[in-house]
């Protein structure tokens, strides 16, 4: 089950057993200065920083192991293949999938969703069929479905969210019909920070025989994810938000579904045999990994997941939830500040607007104080429209953030108020 269940803590939650000083020491970038000030990095929903072990893993790969995988009989090729497949096993364990072959390495979450849209949905969709998403999706979980629906004459249905940013579950249930071929929904929204009741969503969909893709881009680094306990048919995540490198992502798919699906991209490594008349496909997972993969990225991701596991979500979740509660109270107490997204279950995202100050101006001013936040529509324009704002400022948290950093944000926001007084 997802750890969003440990929610609504109060501000006086005791400091956790997490060794914050040690964790911060693991991330070299956190100790640099920007614009003459100590960096305060609060843009983790965009990408997280990397611990030294991940940086070292990339260097070590090129120093000691570099060779192409699944090809050569020579020593290095075998060693690189073992490291790459070892990373796959680490990913499988991290998400508690049943089999390594259910783990497909992609470039990122976006590619994982496109793979499912093209290889799973496209052959199945008929005119008049539905794909169901929610109103809190990132563009990456909207556009691939619009493209495939437009081509097949299918409809993209959108389950509404309420004023707090919670999915309206009974409206979602009413949109499940005999024409619904797939539900694709985020585990955690990047703009309002809502954590969806994915287990319940899957139960409702499966009761009608509808498969479910869960977008775990934001959730996977904030809470333990057990794809089998959730019952997800597909689960997608991205390495660079899991303290790993960019350019590596993960698609989990139930083997029975992946077996039925045609390849997404054609090329080397995904074939069993090739003649000019026809080719036959390799077995899972290689059928979906055409061409030389991001070997260093996969190895770096495996190292990053080992790093997360070494800290443990039992420590990460209470720490981040306490920070979220602290930051929520701080922002709620500031005059003129309004939080966007106050769902019952949230994680690690503080989206807000300030009266009479555009988010872009907030971003520029706090940046001068060394505080990195995101401003804009967060690739979620429909979410902005739902809340009636053109954009928001967003501070987002990760395991290494501190209350002092949120205080620095607070001080920077008071500076914004001074400039615009």
């Amino acid at each position: 089950m997802n750890a969003g269940a440990v929610n609504n803590p109060t501000v006086d939650v005791p400091r956790t057993a997490l060794d914050l000083a040690r964790i911060r020491a693991d991330f070299p970038i956190l100790h640099r200065q920007v614009r003459g000030r100590q960096l305060v990095y609060l843009d983790n929903a965009a990408t997280t920083q990397k611990p030294q072990v991940v940086i070292d893993a990339l260097t070590r790969y090129y120093t000691d192991l570099n060779a192409n995988v699944h090809r050569g009989v020579h020593f290095l090729s075998e060693a690189a293949t073992n490291a790459y497949e070892g990373a796959r096993a680490t990913v499988r364990a991290f998400f508690n999938a049943a089999h390594d072959r259910e783990i497909i390495f992609t470039r990122n979450t976006t590619e994982g969703i496109n793979l499912v849209a093209q290889s799973f949905a496209r052959p199945r969709l008929q005119p008049g069929d539905d794909v169901l998403i929610s109103a809190m999706e990132h563009h990456s979980n909207i556009v691939p479905w619009q493209m495939v629906c437009a081509e097949k004459g299918a409809r993209l249905q959108v389950a509404p969210i309420d004023d707090r940013g919670d999915l309206v579950l009974d409206a979602f249930e009413r949109l499940l019909s005999e024409r619904t071929r797939l539900v694709s929904i985020t585990h955690m929204s990047n703009a309002p920070g809502t954590v969806n009741p994915v287990g319940e969503i899957v139960r409702l969909a499966h009761a009608r025989g509808i498969p479910v893709l869960v977008d775990g881009s934001q959730a996977a680094y904030h809470m333990p994810v057990d794809v089998r306990a959730l019952g997800a048919d597909f689960y997608v995540a991205t390495g660079h938000k899991l303290y790993g490198p960019t350019g590596i992502g993960v698609l989990y798919g139930r083997a029975a579904l992946l077996e039925e699906m045609p390849p997404f991209l054609g090329g080397g490594d995904m074939i069993a045999s090739v003649t000019f008349e026809r080719s036959t496909w390799n077995e899972l997972p290689y059928k979906f990994e055409a061409g030389t993969p991001n070997i260093e990225g996969a190895i770096g991701l495996g190292t990053a997941l080992d790093y997360i596991t070494s800290i443990g979500f039992d420590k990460i979740v209470p720490h981040e939830q306490a920070l979220l509660a602290y930051g929520t109270s701080m922002l709620e107490s500031m005059p003129g500040v309004r939080l966007i997204g106050t769902a019952r279950q949230k994680a690690s995202v503080l989206s807000f607007v300030m009266e009479d100050v555009h988010p872009h101006d907030i971003g520029t001013i706090v940046d001068r104080e060394g505080v990195a936040i995101r401003t804009g529509h967060h690739c979620a324009q429909p979410v902005m429209e739902r809340f009636g704002v053109p954009a928001t400022a967003r501070a987002s948290l990760a395991v290494y953030n501190t209350r002092e950093e949120l205080d620095a944000l607070g001080a920077a926001l008071r500076k914004v108020s001074e400039v615009f007084a």
């Binding site: 555009h358 872009h360 520029t364 902005m384 053109p390 400039v419």
Partner: protein, 146 residues
């Protein structure tokens, strides 16, 4: 570079109380401008009579820089000939894209926006109104600073 160089009094004032902030019924030229990065949107209305900008107004929502720039622009081009306004467009564009150490001359009130040169991601905010103005003259329609 101090923040106060970007957010000068004149800019904050035009942001708070934008001039010519309305629509023009039956305008001879009109265009919409959009900066997708930050969601800034503005609509520009021109009344061009005998080669002169008899009236200009705008509506929209955006950051302080884009709003103040639009407001200052309308003040600067109102009553000017189209040719003079286009010349000002060129000079404004040069001002916000030259290196920060270059002196700014002959820009009048618009020189308060020279501070954006120190904030490269904000140059688009300052330019949006001007590009929309040019689009309105050229053809009408939508312009984007992305």
């Amino acid at each position: 570079m101090d923040l106060n160089d970007l957010y000068q009094e004149v800019i904050l004032d035009h942001n708070k109380r934008p001039r010519n902030f309305h629509t023009i019924e039956g305008a001879s030229h009109r265009a919409d401008g959009h900066n997708p990065l930050c969601g800034d949107r503005l609509s520009l209305y021109l009344q061009v009579t005998d080669g002169n900008i008899a009236d200009v107004a705008f509506q929209g929502a955006g950051c302080a820089i884009s709003k103040a720039s639009a407001s200052l622009m309308t003040d600067a081009i109102k009553g000017q000939s189209v040719a003079a306004a286009l010349d000002l467009f060129e000079r404004f564009h040069r001002m916000v894209t030259t290196p920060p150490d270059q002196p700014v001359e002959g820009m009048g009130k618009l020189s308060v926006l020279a501070g954006v040169r120190e904030f490269p991601v904000r140059v688009k905010c300052a330019s949006l109104a001007w590009h929309t103005f040019k689009a309105a003259l050229d053809s009408g329609g939508e312009v984007s600073t992305e």
